[in-house]
């Protein structure tokens, strides 16, 4: 947590004005993807937003993307090449690009960089991410109301705060509407591995789960749920095509409004570094249309939940809230700050099992 505060302070100190750009040439905007652009998941959402961005601004901007770049030694070179070839705004759309982006940003003080889901910032390096936990909170409400076995299975990637917030938010929402609900989590230590994801989903179903949530990127858990006649929730894109009956809804990210805004800022000369963390409110997080199987009263409750979250009403992590070991995390009446959320490295009280260390 210290680190994030330090960098926040650093960002303000470093926020020197960037030079205004010449108006005549189209603004070159670069995108770096970790996966192929049609990966049916995380990267595809960024690619769709890039296409929308290009359409929005027409010939006032030109966009470039480089896909399938690993987090190894290649990222730094590609980011640097984008900067060298006159891109004035560069989006690096993965946490694994954070350190390379920091290095290149230092060498190109006149180029603006934006890293998705990272936490290091500089005067010319902003960060942005979506409040996935809001989406998962709404999905948790749906799962809690729909489950018949009172068991929700969760296929999770890495035990980092961004994933733990989702697990906790989903569980808290489900418990609120269904006090008997249990949450089982399997950590598979990868973002994308259809084989492992399918195995984890199968194991969860065998343990009695009839709701399969996922914070991994392939549609494999959806397929397994479809085959076993249980329900599932898609991640990053609308995954209903992979399990038309099973998929109750999917959390879908929409980066286009943010990209449009940031490009407009550069064109207007008002771009500044900082951290953007948006949820249902500005539409960065949305839920795909609910399955027809969802009864009208449940549908109404979920929609009400989304409306509350959009308006910033009830906070999913409002106190009183204990950690799994029973220690107090959030006092009654308190809501966590973004920094506190960023450091969430525990299960909340009530979730079974222990975190992998």
């Amino acid at each position: 947590m210290m680190k994030r505060r330090t960098f926040l302070a650093g960002a303000t100190a470093l926020a020197a004005p960037l030079p205004l750009r010449a108006q005549s040439d189209p603004l070159k905007v670069g995108f770096l993807y970790q996966a192929p652009r049609d990966d049916k998941g995380w990267t595809e959402r960024h690619e769709l937003a890039r296409v929308e961005l290009q359409e929005h601004f027409g010939d006032r901007i030109s966009t470039t993307f480089v896909e399938n770049i690993s987090e190894g030694p290649d990222a730094e070179r590609v980011i640097r090449q984008l900067a060298q070839q006159g891109h004035e705004l560069i989006f690096t759309t993965s946490f694994s690009f954070m350190n390379p982006t920091v290095k290149v940003a230092r060498q190109f003080p006149n180029v603006r960089f934006e890293n998705c889901t990272g936490y290091q910032r500089a005067g010319n390096l902003a960060t942005y991410a979506a409040r996935y936990y809001e989406g998962r909170h709404a999905m948790g409400t749906l799962a809690g109301l729909m489950t018949e076995t009172n068991t929700i299975g969760y296929v999770a990637s890495f035990p980092i705060p961004g994933v733990l917030r989702g697990v906790n938010a989903a569980y808290l929402a489900a418990r609120k509407v269904n006090p008997d609900v249990r949450m089982r989590v399997i950590w598979i230590n990868t973002w994308f591995d259809p084989g492992k994801e399918a195995d984890a989903a199968t194991a969860l179903i065998q343990q009695g789960a009839d709701m399969i949530m996922q914070h991994v990127n392939s549609p494999a858990p959806i397929r397994v749920a479809e085959e076993n006649g249980v329900s599932a929730f898609g991640n990053a894109i609308d995954m209903s095509e992979f399990g038309p009956t099973a998929t109750l809804t999917s959390m879908v990210f929409d980066w286009a409004p943010y990209y449009v805004q940031r490009v407009q800022d550069v064109l207007d000369g008002t771009w500044g570094s900082g951290d953007t963390w948006a949820g249902f409110g500005p539409g960065m997080v949305t839920l795909a249309p609910l399955n027809d199987r969802v009864p009208a009263d449940v549908r109404a409750k979920v929609e009400a939940e989304i409306a509350t979250l959009s308006g910033g009403g009830a906070h999913p992590f409002a106190g009183p809230l204990n950690r799994q070991d029973g220690s107090l995390w959030m006092a009654e009446g308190a809501t966590p700050t973004d920094e506190e959320l960023f450091g969430m490295d525990f299960y909340v009280e009530g979730i079974d099992g222990s975190l992998p260390t």
């Binding site: 190894g72 590609v78 640097r80 090449q81 984008l82 070839q85 890495f158 490295d345």
Partner: protein
């Protein structure tokens, strides 16, 4: 009617022109491929082949990319000549990164000129330790080293992932699976200011020349060649096959480990799960493209580096798909194997026999144990 028959002597001319012919045919195939997908072929080829040389940063990046490929392939080619098939350089590379990186983390914040050589040594030992498993299993129990070394790769990748999610994780890194960024004294000295060209690049020619000397003038080199070409003759001459297996796997494992330690501390600067990106496998292409010759391997590594960096340029400039790099490398290997066939064989026109099909034994390519590429 054409027939493939063994040449009495392997063609020396073809042996050395094959890589150039293969590169030429790869360019021709790429030209046709670009035409088919509706891309200006000359422009695309220009980006792939010329861009990597167009400015000093790209040229330095060529060296950064070629260095690990060359180091790994130098070790592999030694073994391939002696019929020792180390397919698991990727795993030895990963172990080198782990051991070098763990050393860097253990001495975090400690200044000292001894630290970087220690990291290199740790990397080499890590790679050798990983290669010792297939070596021991092959020499003691006759287990195929291809399978063992390959499967050890998957263990190495998982070990790295477990370590950066656990003991080697950055304590201030919010549980993200990566180590902290190495301290300045643990990273390789930079050769050219303002680039990522590090001391590892200077190690490559030294290793290449040493291995060239070893294979050409030292008894070890002779014994490896003999055991590779005619194992029986090698055994009669009193050379131990087991010693050759150990020697080749230790050299190739050590060099792959060194490459891993240099890559982790150099261009990457921390341990991340994504360190293994396939260099150990690409180095197999490099070894064959370089004719298993130490000097040839260095140039082959540069050629493969061009395909990577040129492929990125083509992506940035023309939005060509990322798969382009893989396709180009695959074409290169394909053409290399085709032309390699003709080093040991030639096509001969044969008059078709009259009336009825000829016996099966006489048709089709004639492949015998003798000769071959």
């Amino acid at each position: 009617m054409l027939r493939l028959e063994p040449r009495p002597e392997r063609s020396r001319v073809l042996l050395w022109t094959t890589p150039l012919l293969a590169a030429g045919m790869t360019i021709v195939s790429a030209y046709l491929l670009f035409l088919i997908i509706g891309v200006d072929p000359l422009k695309a080829l220009g980006h792939v082949i010329i861009d990597p040389f167009s400015n000093s940063f790209s040229r330095s990046e060529l060296l950064v990319k070629a260095a690990p490929l060359a180091l790994i392939a130098l070790g592999l080619s030694l073994g391939f000549r002696a019929n020792v098939w180390n397919i698991g350089a990727e795993g030895q590379f990963t172990l080198g990164a782990i051991c070098g990186g763990a050393t860097a983390l253990a001495f975090y914040g400690v200044e000292g000129l001894w630290l970087f050589p220690l990291i290199c040594l740790a990397g080499m030992l890590g790679g050798m330790a990983w290669a010792s498993v297939p070596a021991a299993l092959r020499t003691r129990m006759g287990v195929n080293e291809i399978l063992v070394s390959l499967m050890m790769t998957y263990i190495a990748v998982l070990l790295l992932s477990a370590l950066v999610s656990g003991p080697l994780r950055d304590p201030d890194g919010f549980n993200f699976p990566e180590s902290r960024i190495f301290h300045d004294s643990a990273i390789p000295p930079i050769l050219i200011e303002g680039t990522r060209a590090h001391i590892g690049i200077a190690i490559v020619p030294i290793v290449a020349i040493f291995l060239w000397w070893l294979t050409r003038y030292h008894e070890i080199g002779f014994s490896l060649r003999l055991l590779g070409d005619t194992p029986r003759a090698g055994r009669f001459a009193g050379f131990s096959e087991n010693r050759a297996v150990w020697f080749c796997l230790m050299v190739s494992g050590g060099l792959a480990g060194l490459a891993g330690a240099l890559e982790a501390t150099g261009p990457i600067g921390q341990l991340v799960p994504g360190i293994p990106v396939g260099y150990g496998f690409t180095a197999i292409i490099v070894a064959f493209l370089g004719r298993l010759h130490p000097i040839g391997v260095v140039f082959a590594a540069l050629a493969l580096a061009v395909s990577y960096i040129g492929g990125e340029s083509a992506q940035i400039a023309m939005s060509l798909p990322a798969a382009l790099v893989g396709v180009l490398q695959g074409l290169l290997l394909f053409w290399l194997l085709i032309f390699d066939l003709f080093v040991g064989y030639r096509l001969r026109r044969v008059a078709p026999a009259k009336g009825g099909p000829r016996p099966a034994a006489e048709t089709g390519p004639k492949v015998s144990e003798s000769g071959g590429a």
